[in-house]
């Protein structure tokens, strides 16, 4: 039993890394554009399909395929901002939410039309490492390391470059930023492009782990949201930490009970934390 729980904890930490990866782009868009990007999971799904397509029909290397899918998703993010989100910037939050929920319908069914409902995966055999009774899947480990590298890279981008500073300034105070001569429209576009690229990165790390199908995105979206809000909207470190909390909690309770109960425990923890700290674990409470 202890062995089971120990290996569940290890798996939970690795799952946390995967979830953390998923959360970065969402967190960025949340913090800057201040919209709830419901269709983010569908972006990842599209990215995985693009990689799959490039690798099977055009026989590309996984690295090149991932790069191309990042570029395509970045462009898709810009398109999304221009066509759907810009007209809705001033409208109520609920309307934005529902427009993005409409996008879920569009993306999922488009994938269904283009690629059918089958589960698609690439043949990529990564070994399973084991230390005594602990088994570690290398694909999870790669995603875990990828999450840390992405976090560091994102930190560099947001803290050291001019564009990154503009993005952070827009997230903190829109009005003052405009006074400083930064056009928020451009910042939003760049943010969406970055978010799209991040979802492409997620897709490339997910490709060895999961098989993709049209409803792949919706399985992750709610969990990803919960992690973002738990950590504090727009707070990367908070998102990173809460991804591990959720990962460990779900995998341990899935061993002890069932996966449904595990997921509902994670959701109930989320609800309880929301009641006590609505700004999230590391968030700063906004004054109204």
């Amino acid at each position: 039993m202890e062995q089971l729980i120990l290996s569940a904890t290890l798996n939970g930490i690795l799952l946390g890394g995967v979830l953390a990866l998923l959360v970065f782009g969402l967190n960025l868009i949340f913090g800057v554009v201040k919209i709830i990007h419901l269709a983010y999971g569908q972006f990842v799904m599209l990215g995985m399909y693009i990689i799959f397509l490039l690798m099977t029909t055009y026989k590309m290397n996984i690295f090149i395929a991932s790069l191309i899918s990042c570029i395509i998703l970045g462009l898709l993010g810009i398109l999304l901002q221009m066509i759907v989100i810009n007209p809705l910037l001033k409208s109520p939050r609920l309307n934005q939410l529902l427009a993005l929920a409409g996008l879920i319908i569009i993306f999922e069914n488009m994938a269904m039309v283009l690629w059918g409902a089958d589960y698609r995966g690439i043949k990529l055999f990564l070994p399973v490492i084991h230390f005594g009774f602990l088994f570690v899947r290398t694909s999870y480990l790669v995603a875990f390391i990828g999450a840390i590298i992405t976090l560091l890279g994102l930190n560099l981008f947001l803290n050291k470059t001019y564009v990154g500073l503009a993005i952070r300034a827009t997230a903190q105070d829109l009005d003052s930023t405009q006074l400083m001569g930064i056009n928020p429209k451009w910042v939003y576009l760049i943010t969406q492009a970055t978010g799209g690229i991040l979802s492409g990165i997620v897709a490339s790390f997910f490709m060895p782990i999961y098989t993709v199908h049209p409803h792949f995105g919706s399985a992750f979206t709610l969990m990803a949201f919960i992690i973002v809000i738990l950590g504090g909207m727009g707070n990367f470190l908070g998102g990173f930490i809460s991804a591990f909390i959720i990962g460990v909690v779900t995998s341990i309770s899935a061993v002890l009970t069932s996966t449904e109960i595990a997921d509902s425990i994670a959701l109930i923890i989320f609800i309880l934390i929301m009641l006590v700290r609505p700004q999230g674990l590391l968030g700063i409470r906004e004054s109204r």
Binding site: P87, G102, L103, I106, L222, I226, D263, L267, M274, P278
Partner: protein
């Protein structure tokens, strides 16, 4: 107000109601009756949702109440043979209890706006997961079929669709009537003030928690009864169609596209969405699998972008604006030339 002036004022409404009442007597195709009944049931649920929604209490978790009502009733009936009418009451009470716990916690700790929406979204998913987890009893995601007893009013089961048509119409009319009652009461004024600015409302002595809980409990209770109504009509329940994120988002979708701040908004929104869905499914569903849904999604996004107040909301605001302008016109002329 005497009878004739009432008739004159509400003329289109009376005609519409008479038309709806007479329609089944003209022996229309059963499919039409089915769609209209479906619209009635979902309009009822959506109207009940907008009791809360119109005061900026946006709940994205009404699927939780729907699921609880439906499952309590069907489990009691299938296993213990308890009449769904009692099940409806108990299911409503179960949903209201959940709403009381969560609502009190949320309102006590000041969880408002987006955070309230997200907490309720999680709630809807929790209920769906729990229904799935107890699959030995509830059937899990395979769903559960209602035991058939033929036509029996006591067990709220009818073999003909017509009965459901009238019953769900009654439910919908009750919901609209209750909306009117709330609209004319002090509760509406208090909740309106709370929705505009909570702190200001509290400072003039409005009991925020009490009013918000009141409307949440009513909404939860009635939503659960809507779940039972749906169960009895479809004779099949499934956690995907009754709770979880999908349906929890579909309800506000209908309300917004109709115009959730207006009495008829939810009904019109539901009628629009359901008939659109059915039309696209029937006309293009078989020929282009999937593409029809893509069109539907695009249409929804376009509608949200261009009609942010909803169909009925936009039209009714436009009318009121025109009316105001035509009333102001003579005065303006007086102002310019009268003196």
């Amino acid at each position: 107000m005497n009878a004739t002036s009432f008739l004159k004022r509400k003329f289109p409404l009376v005609i519409l109601l008479l038309g709806i009442l007479i329609l089944p007597l003209l022996s229309p195709p059963p499919y039409l009756i089915h769609i209209i009944t479906f619209i009635f049931i979902w309009s009822y649920i959506t109207t009940v949702w907008s009791y809360m929604g119109r005061f900026h209490l946006v709940s994205l978790g009404h699927g939780a109440f729907l699921g609880i009502g439906a499952y309590i009733s069907i489990l009691l009936f299938n296993y213990y043979n308890i009449s769904p009418w009692i099940g409806m009451l108990l299911g409503g009470m179960g949903a209201a209890l959940l709403a009381l716990i969560l609502g009190y916690a949320c309102f006590r700790f000041g969880v408002i706006g987006d955070y309230f929406a997200l907490v309720t979204l999680a709630l809807g998913e929790v209920v769906a997961l729990i229904i799935n987890a107890f699959r030995d009893v509830t059937g899990g995601s395979l769903g559960m079929t209602l035991k058939s007893v033929g036509t029996s009013f006591y067990y709220f089961q009818f073999e003909k669709k017509i009965y459901y048509y009238y019953v769900s119409l009654l439910f919908l009319m009750f919901a609209l009537f209750l909306w009117q009652i709330i609209d004319r009461s002090r509760i509406q004024k208090a909740l309106h003030a709370i929705g505009e600015d909570e702190i200001a409302a509290a400072s003039i002595g409005i009991r925020i928690i009490r009013y918000k809980l009141f409307i949440t409990l009513i909404s939860a209770f009635l939503t659960a009864t809507g779940g039972v109504l749906y169960t009895q009509y479809m004779t099949y329940v499934n956690p995907e169609t009754l709770s979880g994120v999908g349906v929890s988002l579909a309800i506000p979708f209908k309300a917004i596209l109709g115009g959730m701040f207006h009495l008829w908004g939810s009904t019109i929104g539901t009628a629009m969405i359901v008939s659109l869905e059915e039309y696209i499914r029937i006309m293009y569903g078989a020929r282009f699998i999937g593409i029809s849904q893509v069109f539907y999604g695009i249409l929804l996004v376009v509608l949200i972008i261009f009609l942010p107040k909803g169909l009925y909301g936009t039209i009714s605001d436009y009318w009121q604006k025109r009316k105001r302008i035509s009333e102001e016109q003579p005065k303006m002329k007086l102002g310019f030339f009268g003196k």
